[in-house]
Amino acid sequence: MFFLQLALSGLAQGAIYALVALSMCVVYRATTVVNFGHGDLVMAGAFVVYLLVVLAGLPFPASAIAAVALLFILGALIEIGLIERIKAGPHIGFALMCIAVGYLLRGAARAVWGREVLPMPRVFDFPPVMLGELVVTADALVIFSAVGVLLMLFFGLFYRTSAGRIMQAVCQSERGAALVGINVRAFHGVMWGVGAAMGAIGGVLVAPLTLLHPGLGAGFLIKGFAAMTLGGFGSLGGAVAGGLLLGVAEQWVGGYVSTKLIDITAYLVIILVLALRPSGLFGQAVAERV
């Protein structure tokens, strides 16, 4: 029972990691830029939903959707306004631009709520469901269903619809896509928007669970990296699988080995995977062309 309970909580936790990793992977696949400030977008999503629920008094579902929309716009603006403008600069500049944007978001949240630790009102208040001895909490159920629906939506859109095919085309070769008349710049903006929106959904799902403080996002960045690396950098399915695996691994390590190791499970995963199998579980090795 202990084993299954840990796995169950691990999956709930892993679902959030999967969502964050997938949103980072979408941005990477579409624009070859890894968003080192992504954790703060998750935090921004949580704060926006708090603002709408507590200050504006909107019901949770409405404010959740509004928050995701706002973050979509923010993500697109970041790409078009900032990332696109430094395309000519040194390649390393992208990483710092993402970090700077994240730091600016954290600073802005700090300036307004620096001293507050904000509680979100309880949203899903039905008691936990008992599966035999296994306890499935309301929050876990919500996260599972939300992430599940999202993944089906995303992969359906990505592989089934024409918009999805455009996305795949640009992911494979930007120049090729541009040649056939796809507006690559707008596409990058859209994909950053999608990434930011999905990150915000992660924030929205986590908000009721934990308390909101500007430093909320930092942890998610490293967990997202570990999930992407485990699943194979750049592989969308891999990011999801990696996230779920990481969540479960953390709980098992905590349950069976030592709770002190939970914190560094992500780091160990990154180092082990890159040492043993750099392309991760589902990724392809990056061939260096002469």
Binding site: F2, Q5, L6, S9, G10, A12, Q13, I16, G107, R110, G114, R115, E116, V117, P119, R122, D125, P128, V135, T137, V206, L209, T210, L211, H213, P214, G215, L216, A218, G219, E250, Q251, V253, G254, G255, S258, T259, K260, I262, D263
Partner: protein, 392 residues
């Protein structure tokens, strides 16, 4: 380097001269006819920014003292410096306050590690420093010439927590869950030392990292050990998560928290009374946060910082502020650091009005507040307890 050889002699002269001169701070620095400058260091940014509510409360208190006519005809001018819970910024801030702003005294600091880093700088300058919030007792003891603790130190809290746990009949197995940082250690450390002196070793010690949104592994390991009492040195967010998971997995042992959380806000975060029914915290205040005896201080805070929400950290430094103002008054018009330190050392059983314990400072003991109460929910209302199941 040939062209520079003839410059060698003057260089050595400059270096020797510079090494000889040492900066000395005047005994009456920071005092003018109309003002007393007090340096307040607060972690406004960085990971510990929620602690800075203590220094904001203190600043409000000093502004209120000024509106009541100040001290012996002088207004208190506070200089707020942000050090983001980082030692490098902390040393820069304290050196700026001492040597550039030339403040009369320091009253601040929430982060123990940074307080320990700036301690030698303060000792060397000989400037009076009343610690506003940091709990690590090693900052002010063994007693030094100019450092005073304005809040109960971790040792006092830890002992109160340990003693209260022992008052539960038949307690034998105790579990500990804590963060792996110095804040948590300053509470859990002394508590476990006291329990060890009563020959009780923790049956299980579990770590929960800051920012975690799930404590399943920790809760299940504690539940396996089936303890009589759980000591939880966690911040507000993680405390709420742990209590929710404990209820979820049927761990119904009582939980002893720290002064970093308060009953009212924890109840609000957890959402239902049943989850916090068995949750206890050291209670430093003379009353509940929304109780009548603290109303005066809450109003002071609201007057100068209207948008500030009241939590366990908000009023904690006002006690030290009251003691400082008292000593400043006794020091009279021709104020000096020497005189002020001597007056501080005469503080005996001073009732600050906001803290439950009274402040006593002597040349040999600078811990300040010795007694700390314990509070828990009794029939749904936060009440101060003398022992397990006994109201004060």
């Amino acid at each position: 380097m040939k062209p520079f050889v003839h410059l060698l002699r003057p260089c050595i002269a400059i270096v020797a001269y510079a090494l000889a001169t040492t900066a000395s701070a005047a005994d009456t620095a920071g005092i003018t006819d109309t003002a007393i400058k007090i340096g307040v260091m607060a972690p406004l940014t960085g990971s510990g920014s929620s602690y800075s509510k203590a220094e904001i409360g203190l600043d409000a208190y000093y502004k209120w003292v000024n509106d009541q006519g100040g001290v012996n005809g002088r207004k208190i001018e506070t200089v707020l410096e942000d050090y983001a819970c980082d030692s490098t910024k902390g040393i820069a801030a304290v050196k700026k306050l001492i040597h550039q702003d030339k403040v009369f005294m320091l009253h601040g600091n929430s982060c123990s590690a940074v307080a320990m880093a700036i301690k030698p700088v303060v000792l060397e300058a000989g400037i009076p420093w009343v610690i506003a919030h940091a709990a690590n007792g090693a900052i002010s003891s063994p007693a030094t010439k100019n450092i005073f603790h304005g809040v109960p130190v971790g040792k006092t809290m830890g002992l109160a927590m340990g003693r209260f746990v022992m008052t539960k009949p038949g307690v034998a197995k105790v579990a500990v869950i804590q963060h792996t940082d110095d804040w948590a250690k300053s509470y859990c450390g002394p508590a476990m030392e006291f329990l060890a002196s009563q020959s009780i070793k923790p049956v299980v010690e579990v770590a929960l990292e800051r920012g975690q949104t799930d404590a399943t592994a920790q809760t299940l390991r504690i539940k396996q050990a089936n303890p009589d009492f759980v000591i939880a040195c966690l911040y507000e967010a993680e405390t709420a998560i742990f209590l929710k998971d404990a209820k979820k997995f049927g761990l119904n042992a009582p939980v002893m928290g720290t002064a970093g959380t308060d009953l009212e806000n924890t109840l609000k975060r957890v959402g239902d009374l049943d989850t916090v029914a068995n949750y206890f915290v050291p209670h430093m205040y003379a009353d509940n946060l929304d109780g009548p005896r603290l109303k005066r201080f809450v109003d002071i805070l609201k007057k100068y910082y209207p948008s500030e929400s009241v939590t366990a950290f908000s009023l904690i430094s006002m006690g030290g502020g009251a003691a400082v103002v008292e000593a400043l008054k006794r020091s009279g018009r021709d104020l000096s650091r020497e005189k002020f330190i001597a007056e501080l050392d005469k503080t005996r059983d001073f009732d600050t009005g906001v803290l439950a314990g009274r402040i006593t400072w002597t040349a040999a003991d600078r811990d300040g507040v010795k007694e700390v109460g314990i509070a828990g929910f009794v029939s749904g209302k936060p009440t101060v307890l003398k022992a397990w199941g006994q109201r004060l």
